[in-house]
């Protein structure tokens, strides 16, 4: 298997970081490490690196399940963030997918628009 490292443009990362600091850092922390037992980490987890659709849906609908992530559960609730624009969601998810040791392809505003239209 060959991993293609797709460079993400710097401007997107900078915009994404701004959104991260405003809306995400409180719970997921400066290093993406989350809070043990409370808020899930964003480092190399299947939620972050896996399906773009599922990840976009977490932003739009929030998350209130007690599922295990790498053997641990997390008790805080994530509120829906559907007030963010397609551009903001694309930027922040691209930032998260390429920070904290993560490498994954970018998410575009078009991806978000598509998922938003199909998410109730």
């Amino acid at each position: 298997m060959v991993f293609l490292s797709v460079p993400v443009d710097k401007a997107t990362m900078e915009r994404g970081k701004k959104v991260y600091i405003q809306y995400c850092i409180a719970c997921h922390q400066v290093d993406g490490g989350g809070v043990p037992g409370l808020n899930p980490p964003l480092e190399k987890t299947p939620h972050v690196l896996g399906s773009k659709t599922k990840l976009i849906r977490i932003i739009l609908k929030g998350m209130d399940t007690h599922e295990e992530i790498d053997g641990e559960t997390y008790s805080n609730v994530m509120a829906p963030h559907n007030h963010l624009t397609d551009q903001q969601i694309a930027d922040v998810l691209t930032y998260v997918r390429n920070s904290f040791g993560n490498i994954a392809i970018a998410i575009t505003p078009g991806d978000v628009k598509y998922v938003r239209a199909r998410t109730k």
Binding site: I21, A26, D31, G33, G34, V35, N39, V77, A79
Partner: protein, 418 residues
């Protein structure tokens, strides 16, 4: 021994050196006042939450994650070498609360309370068949631990934390308004009183002893004045209302409040929080507050100590022993688990503090008693903390025990007058 700790924020290597050849860190890595010393009684015992010591010096430890299907450990140092050598486990449920009173061990899951009869050495007689005394308590995902304490009249007091941060229509949603009245308060967000000796009690048999408490993990009975004392985990995320609060204000303003509780007390949550800068209760932004408005907050219970925001008080213990110097007698120790909701500021807490008391009232400023649990100079993200204080207990000799729920370390702190 030299320990290398990697700080994941900036990949700095922090060198923690000491010259001791034994491989044992001095005072188990803790900073303590002069005359005190600490040792590690046990390590890697799992998610050690609250703890209690028997009159013979054995420890019961409540676990928030099962080990081999068991949620309570009973550990003892039988040969007196300072390390545990005798471990038993029982109880097939996770939880936090555990205490001993008048011949019984009481322990909680996140929705029930059990008790186990003890023999004359305070050893559990039938570990596999406890009496279920309370059941059916609210077990939301947040704040679901059920801390316990008993009085001398046969009552048990159980914290039932609110499953929400601030009772909003959308929990932790930016700008989301508070439900008014907050429906959660009927069954959570307070302290409930039950009989200690009646089986299968539910809300129907319980009394809501105090309300308006978001989540209490640390509570203790003060036998000097026969009253209940609690310490609340204050609210998070004031900056969900950016028109009034920025991240720095959220990091600094909403206190962790200690209360003396009388029956019927209302401590204000979710309508009011205590602002440490203005030194008063103010109306929460979810209920129309702007950081200054105090409507609805006159008449609610005032804290007897207001600690800095977000430190996460996980245990409270009135010290009644004779080992420590006089100033500690009848004063309160508080174990702070350490903050998470201070980003992008550095996190705070991760220590045990002492509050001097006289006649059941704080008699001076609080001070940090035991520090250094985190093992790093600065915690930017809670994950960096190597240890986090969670439970407190007093031994029959007056030693203070502190549990850590990250690595499962049990610290024993003693005082030697020399």
């Amino acid at each position: 021994m030299t320990v290398l700790i990697i700080n994941p924020v900036n990949d700095l290597l922090i060198l923690q050196g000491n010259k001791k050849p034994s491989g044992v860190t001095e005072n188990a890595g803790l900073k303590l006042p002069a005359g005190f010393s600490a040792s590690v009684l046990a390590d890697s015992v799992g998610r050690a939450r609250h703890i209690v010591v028997t009159k013979k010096g054995a420890l019961y430890i409540k676990l928030s994650k099962l080990i081999n299907g068991k949620g309570i450990l009973r550990v003892k140092d039988t040969d007196g070498d300072g390390k545990i050598d005798d471990i038993k486990s029982f109880g097939n449920y996770i939880g936090t609360g555990i205490t001993i009173k008048d011949g019984y061990l009481y322990a909680s899951s996140n929705d029930e309370v059990f008790r186990y009869a003890l023999d004359e050495n305070e050893e559990v007689i039938k570990p596999d068949s406890p009496e279920k005394i309370i059941k059916g308590l609210i077990n939301g995902r947040q704040h679901n631990t059920k801390s316990l304490v008993l009085d001398d009249k046969g009552y048990i007091y159980v914290n039932i934390g609110s499953p929400l941060n601030s009772c909003q229509e959308i929990d932790r949603g930016a700008g989301s308004k508070g439900k008014d009245p907050c429906p959660v308060l009927d069954s959570a967000g307070g302290i409930w009183q039950f009989r200690a000796d009646k089986l299968n009690q539910t809300y129907k048999e319980g009394i809501r002893y105090a309300t308006g408490l978001r989540n209490v993990m640390g509570l203790d009975w003060n036998y000097q004045i026969n009253e209940l004392f609690v310490i609340q985990h204050g609210r998070d995320q004031l900056d969900m209302f950016p028109e009034y609060f920025n991240a720095k204000q959220n990091a600094d303003i909403p206190a962790e409040e200690m209360f003396m509780i009388k029956k019927g007390a209302n401590c204000g949550w979710p309508y009011c929080y205590f602002d440490v800068q203005q030194n008063k209760k103010v109306l929460a932004p979810e209920y129309g507050g702007d950081g200054k408005n105090t409507t609805r907050c006159e008449g609610v219970e005032q804290p007897i100590v207001a600690f800095p925001a977000h430190l996460a008080p996980n245990a409270l213990l009135f010290y009644t022993g004779s080992m420590f110097p006089d100033k500690y007698k009848n004063g309160a120790f508080v174990a702070f688990h350490g903050s998470w909701n201070r980003s992008p500021e550095k996190q705070e807490g991760y220590y045990v503090v002492f509050v001097p008391f006289k006649d059941g009232k704080p008699s001076g400023p609080w001070e940090i008693f035991a520090d250094g649990f985190a093992g790093v100079e600065t915690v930017m993200s809670p994950k960096q903390a190597q240890h986090r204080p969670c439970g407190l207990a007093q031994g029959p000799d007056g030693a203070l025990y502190v549990s850590d729920d990250v690595k499962g370390t049990i610290y024993k702190i003693i005082y030697k007058n020399n």
